[in-house]
């Protein structure tokens, strides 16, 4: 069969929720175009019910994921990098289409994103030493602070940087044991939806990352008000939306990371990890033990 007669096989982009690839509950899709306005694919247009389902999936995953050893989480994050490396060509093409970049510039973005997974993979079992530790106290006690994940985190992915920016906001959230609901860039969601396919084959338990595409404001509003969401990263919100979401988020005291100008090509630092950590401090009696096994 010659090339001319072969029918093209289009890809159906689907959401990634709870380790599965559902279509939007609403049945809606919207057209995604490249930077010049040419049609690329249809992406699911998520509804608030998809958002609700994603929260249920993310909540279910919090226990096992936060309970996994930091070492194991690091291995899995590294595995994501490995899987991405194998599908590098696909992501270069998608990023080039989405952001109107040349092949080489898109390749640089994808490489940086892969390296970012590796970078955060290394941090999973080191962050506790950096932000936790033994505190000096004036009494016969150990006083130990340790960072704990916040829980379910909603992430509004950056609108412009469709892949490097996306990875730069997801990886720090899940590295420390949170689970994430990611709202992909509204104009260029395809790299995010394809990332779901990579995550599904990287030993990452279902529900740890959930990817939704659609109108950012439509999905983010119910999530910001959702009582079972613990934190929200507003990276992809404009000023007006960010303010609205922050007000909605105040109701159950969600942690909020406000949008800020970030150069995603630079080494990120640990701020995005610590933004979604809570410090637990325990007092533990010390001193010599008596015959009863207690110092009292």
């Amino acid at each position: 069969m010659s090339d001319a007669t072969r029918l093209s096989v289009f890809k159906t982009y689907k959401l990634y929720v709870g380790g599965k690839f559902p279509r939007s509950e609403s049945g809606r899709v919207y057209e995604v175009t490249d930077s010049k306005g040419n049609w690329l694919a249809n992406a699911p247009l998520s509804s608030r019910k998809d958002a609700r389902d994603a929260v249920v999936a993310a909540r279910k995953a919090v226990g096992p994921w936060s309970g996994a050893t930091a070492y194991n989480r690091g291995q899995i994050l590294y595995r994501i990098a490995e899987m991405l490396e194998g599908r590098r060509e696909q992501f270069v093409r998608e990023v080039a289409d989405a952001e109107g970049l040349s092949k080489s510039k898109a390749a640089a973005q994808v490489d940086a994103a892969i390296d970012r997974w590796v970078w955060y993979a290394g941090w999973t079992d080191k962050i506790a030493q950096v932000v936790g530790g033994a505190n000096p106290v004036a009494g016969p006690y150990f006083n130990l602070s340790s960072p704990e994940p916040t829980g379910v985190v909603v992430v509004l992915a950056p609108q412009e940087s469709s892949f490097l920016g996306l990875v730069s906001v997801i990886a720090p959230v899940i590295a420390t044991g949170n689970t994430a609901i990611v709202i992909a860039s509204e104009e260029s969601p395809l790299p995010a939806l394809s990332l779901g396919e990579v995550l599904a084959t990287s030993d990452l338990p279902g529900g740890v990352v959930n990817v939704l595409s659609g109108r950012t404001a439509e999905i983010a509003t119910p999530l910001a008000a959702h009582q079972d969401v613990n934190a929200i990263d507003l990276a992809g919100a404009d000023d007006v939306l960010a303010k609205e979401l922050e007000i909605a988020a105040a109701d159950n005291l969600k942690r909020v990371l406000r949008p800020q100008p970030v150069d995603y090509t630079e080494t990120p630092g640990i701020d995005r990890m610590t933004a979604f950590l809570e410090t637990k401090t325990v007092w533990h009696p010390t001193g010599s033990l008596g015959a009863s096994g207690s110092s009292y």
Binding site: R52, V55, D228
Partner: protein, 320 residues
């Protein structure tokens, strides 16, 4: 669905005269069209119930819940906590209706009775060697009398599935009659068929008629202790049975699906089945109940969502 069952009330009093007349009657019931039944149940489950109708359905469903704890590890403290939850399902919103009843093992009836005293919430107790029902009749009756003496308003009995499956219908019938008598005038009797163990829809229809002939006040799908519990299809079948039974005898019998109903969506589907099959007469907790434990939390979360516009979460309902 019309049935070919004998229409005169007089005939019904004769059918329990002997084992053979009872068998002839039960086996004379029309066979169940399994595909049609499941399709009907599934199509009724597609109704979209929104806004004010949903609010009504949620409150109705809460008022129909038999809040259940049937664990070997039940403690008096757990039963008291359950009683408090039945009386005030959502302590932050006192407009929430109370549940219909709490459902416990016989030895916990006194504790439950005290916990719900003065609230109108009833105490139901499983009895007759629940959940297997494999005990001698005197033991079962003693179990029932204990529960009634302790103050149970309702008794949930299990039928002898072994006898039923062996075709020994009169034995099952006599047991139900005896238990009904032991309940006395004060306690209503719910008869559990354990539909998951009856194998066929035909058997569920036969068991329903058998239970109603023997004087059940309620017919109940399951114990919640086996793999297959209440499904829309088997509940629809039982609703048809109580509808036909009332048409023939004028006696109204309640229905209680139990086990496996965990979400508001499921509960509303069952309410649609009730409304479409037997009508509004049964849309009341005197005639329809949900046997459930985790369902109530989902109903409360949905109720909070409707009241506030925000999705609620498990942090805002009790952990049972």
């Amino acid at each position: 669905m019309p049935t070919n069952a004998p229409t005169a009330a007089k005939t019904l009093s004769d059918v329990t005269a002997s084992d053979s007349t009872l068998r002839r009657f039960l086996h004379g019931l029309p066979g169940v069209d399994a595909v049609g039944l499941e399709a009907r149940a599934a199509s009724l489950g597609t109704r979209s119930i929104k806004t004010t109708a949903k609010a009504y359905a949620i409150d109705l469903a809460i008022s129909m819940v038999d809040l259940t704890t049937l664990e070997g590890a039940d403690t008096p403290g757990k039963v008291r906590a359950l009683g408090a939850k039945a009386v005030h399902p959502d302590p932050t919103d006192r407009t929430t209706p109370t549940t219909a009843a709490v459902c416990v093992y016989p030895d916990m009836v006194a504790v439950a009775k005290e916990a719900v005293a003065g609230s109108g919430v009833k105490v139901a107790s499983v009895a007759t060697a629940f959940p297997a029902g494999r005990a001698a009749l005197p033991v079962k009756l003693a179990d029932v009398r204990d529960a009634v003496a302790a103050g149970a308003d309702e008794i949930d009995m299990v039928i002898d599935r072994g006898a039923f499956l062996a075709g020994n219908y009169l034995k099952v019938y006599d047991e139900i009659v005896a238990v009904k008598e032991a309940c006395g005038a004060s306690a209503r009797l719910k008869v559990i068929f354990e539909t998951g163990e009856l194998s066929t829809y035909d058997n569920i229809r036969r068991a329903s008629w058998l239970g109603m002939l023997a004087g059940a006040d309620f017919i109940k799908t399951s114990t919640g202790k086996v793999a297959v519990n209440a499904t829309p299809a088997n509940t629809l079948l039982m609703l048809e049975a109580v509808r036909d039974f009332r048409a023939q005898t004028g006696v109204q019998v309640g229905v209680k699906p139990a086990g496996g109903i965990r979400t508001t969506k499921d509960a509303i589907k069952f309410l649609v089945l009730v409304n479409e099959t037997v009508g509004e007469d049964w849309l009341d907790n005197h005639w329809f109940r949900f046997g459930a434990s985790s369902l109530l939390n989902d109903l409360l979360m949905q109720r909070q969502k409707l009241a506030t516009g925000r999705y609620s979460g498990p942090d805002y309902v009790t952990v049972d």
